[in-house]
Amino acid sequence: MITLSSVPDRVAAALPPGLSPLRLIAADGSADDADEMLVMPSDQVLVELLRRMIVGRRFDTQATALTRQGRLAVYPSSRGQEACQVGAVLALREQDWLFPTYRDTMAVITRSVAAAEALSLLRGEWHCGYDPYERNVAPQCTPLATHALHAVGLAYAARVKRADQVALVLLGDGATSEGDTHEALNFAAVWRAPAVFLVQNNGYAISVPLAKQTAAPALAYKGVGYGMRSLLIDGNDAAAVYAAVSSAVTRAASGDGPTLIEALTYRVAAHTNADDATRYRDSAEVDAWLDRDPLRRLETYLRGQKLVDDGDLERFGAEAERFAAEVRTAMSGDMTADPAELFAHVYAEPTRALAAQREFLFAELAGRPS
């Protein structure tokens, strides 16, 4: 029962802490962990974050190159968002679930889904390419925000089954305007579902800047309306992303409900290889964000702490090159799409009508000169 006197407490409990984004490492690579809201990850985790971000960025560059070679139909780059892509995924436990969007292929491969599988859809296949149950990664979602509801349902089911599982949803700033984001946040909060929402606010929804998307002072503040704990963080600080998602996962898993995290970051590349970002933003704006590069920031910090040296960086770079070479090799062959499969998975068993259509297509193909 809500009473008038309980309203201020409820509001205070839901407000994001502080007015500026939480961070652990400043843009210049110096420690900035005065805030007690976030706990600096262990040295081992920090080094791993850097290693995976280096591999992730190299993968992203390779995927973009594959579009120019005609090996990928399209690729939405997450360059500049490596801290979110890698930090969030490494904060998950094996049993947790990741619900990614089309821009989160780097997150998907960080979750150890094979790159060639993760790129299937972008290559022009009709399916998502991987078995979601192998790494607990839902298909990359193309419509905006619809997958947020799937994550809430999956998280709720985990609680029903008394399974220790948390669902992490990746969203963009544009997706927060969709009704399904609202419904997902509301359902998750009402049900206290073990879900974590990470909004990668990268400034643009294709060409539309955030100012045309919302009048909210910060997307994190939307959590207040749902009675949901929310955090505003520096999304180019991998340590902060890891710490924020880790704490949200821990809270969710212990029954303390969902968390909304807004991570401020930037989409350095265009929306996809088919987009021309110069039509809607200045290069000065891009340059300013390049100065806040998430990889350089973490590398500078780790070098300062004597946690990595030139030898480590060389090894990470070599690993990234090997990974890119593997991706090139895996993607070099031509696609072997089987028309029979078009009918195989529409229903658990193909209906008689679909079986007949499959036979029709086979007969048509058989009659055609090859």
Binding site: P139, G153, A348, A353
Partner: protein, 352 residues
């Protein structure tokens, strides 16, 4: 009602028939009670089954189809959600991904439209998108159609929106007994099922069915006849049967009535078999005729039965208008007289 609910709420297993079971086997129940019994039996026999939606908890649904279920099975398994249809379907998808069997209610036909994207882009497609890895055994119950004096947004016949979407099964019972059977089958089905409940037949009564009966995808010949096949589903099945009686009495025509039961997939064998025997067909539905379900039925039958047809296939449908207000719905809905007229308009030269 409470006595009825007690019987209806028995588990599915019928290993020990007692006096209570005997009463269940002979009692006439309404379609709403039959649906309630199916939900209760599914909850009792399968711990993965959950029921949720708007007002389905303590209230028991606006049509009382979930009456008593929250009290019997607890609000962990039968519960109210916030008022958001897209979320009801979207979360059901996530629950099914994680091993549960959600049976959700859209309160009225037109109130399901906010869920359209979740239904068509995800519920219908996730199996295909994942090459069969993700199975979504979700049942979406939708009270549909008119005939109850409902106001705007409460009487739509929304079936074609769903049947046009690959990956969904769409079924609708015409009788109380079939409502029980079809709902149990839908809950056991590995595919997502849109379960359309004809509101105007919620209060029609029948005995609950025995163990045997037609499978989920099969049409059923409700009344055998030799002169013409009346093809109906959901709310118009009873209208078609009434018409058949009237045709026998007034026109001397022997009308066969086919209850489609499954709108998608379509049971070509049963329906085409009937039309090949009778040589004539009239399709009846409440929904608007233009691009309506009857158009698909007429096209399929023309393709499959052309050389058996004695007359063009006719449709008796609702007009191509927004669903009319209560005072005028009688003019819109296909009734016995309008169907009899259509039968009369078929070419009958060989019967002269």
């Amino acid at each position: 009602m409470s006595n009825l609910m007690e019987r209806a709420a028995r588990p599915a297993g019928r290993a020990q028939p007692g006096p209570e079971q005997a009463a269940r086997d002979t009692a006439q129940v309404t379609m709403a009670a039959a649906l309630n019994a199916a939900l209760a039996d599914a909850l009792a026999s399968d711990p993965r089954v959950l029921i949720f939606g708007e007002d389905v908890g303590p209230l028991g649904g606006v049509f009382r189809v979930t009456d008593g279920l929250a009290a019997r099975f607890g609000e962990g398994r039968v519960f109210d959600t916030p008022l958001a249809e897209s979320a009801i379907i979207g979360t059901a998808i996530g629950m099914a991904m994680n091993g549960l069997v959600p049976v959700v209610e859209m309160q009225f036909d037109a109130f399901a439209y906010p869920a359209f994207e979740q239904l068509t882009s995800h519920l219908a497609k996730l199996r295909n998108r994942t090459r069969g890895r993700v199975s979504l055994p979700v049942v979406v119950r939708v009270p549909f159609g008119g005939g109850i004096g409902g106001v705007e947004h409460h009487c739509d016949s929304s079936e074609t929106y769903y049947v046009h979407t690959a990956g969904l099964r769409v079924v609708t019972p015409g009788t109380a007994s079939d409502a029980y059977r079809l709902l149990r089958q839908s809950i056991e089905c590995p595919d997502p099922v849109i379960f359309l409940e004809p509101k105007r037949r919620y209060w029609s009564k029948e005995q609950l069915p025995g163990e045997s009966g037609p499978a989920i995808g099969q049409a059923l010949i409700r009344r055998p006849g030799t002169d013409v096949t009346l093809i109906a589903y959901g709310g118009t099945v009873a209208t078609a049967l009434e018409t058949a009686d009237a045709a026998a009495a007034e026109q001397g025509r022997d009308v066969e009535v086919v209850d489609l039961r499954s709108l998608s997939p379509f049971d070509d064998a049963t329906v085409a078999g009937s039309v090949r025997r009778t040589g004539r067909a009239v399709v009846v539905h409440e929904a608007s005729g233009f691009s309506g379900y009857g158009a698909e039925v007429a096209a399929r039958l023309t393709e499959q039965c052309f050389h058996y047809l004695e007359a063009p296939i006719l449709r008796v449908t609702g007009f191509d208008i927004p669903y009319p207000p209560p005072a005028l719905e009688q003019y819109h809905l296909p009734g016995v007289d309008r169907i009899l007229d259509a039968i009369g308009r078929l070419q009958w030269d060989d019967h002269a």
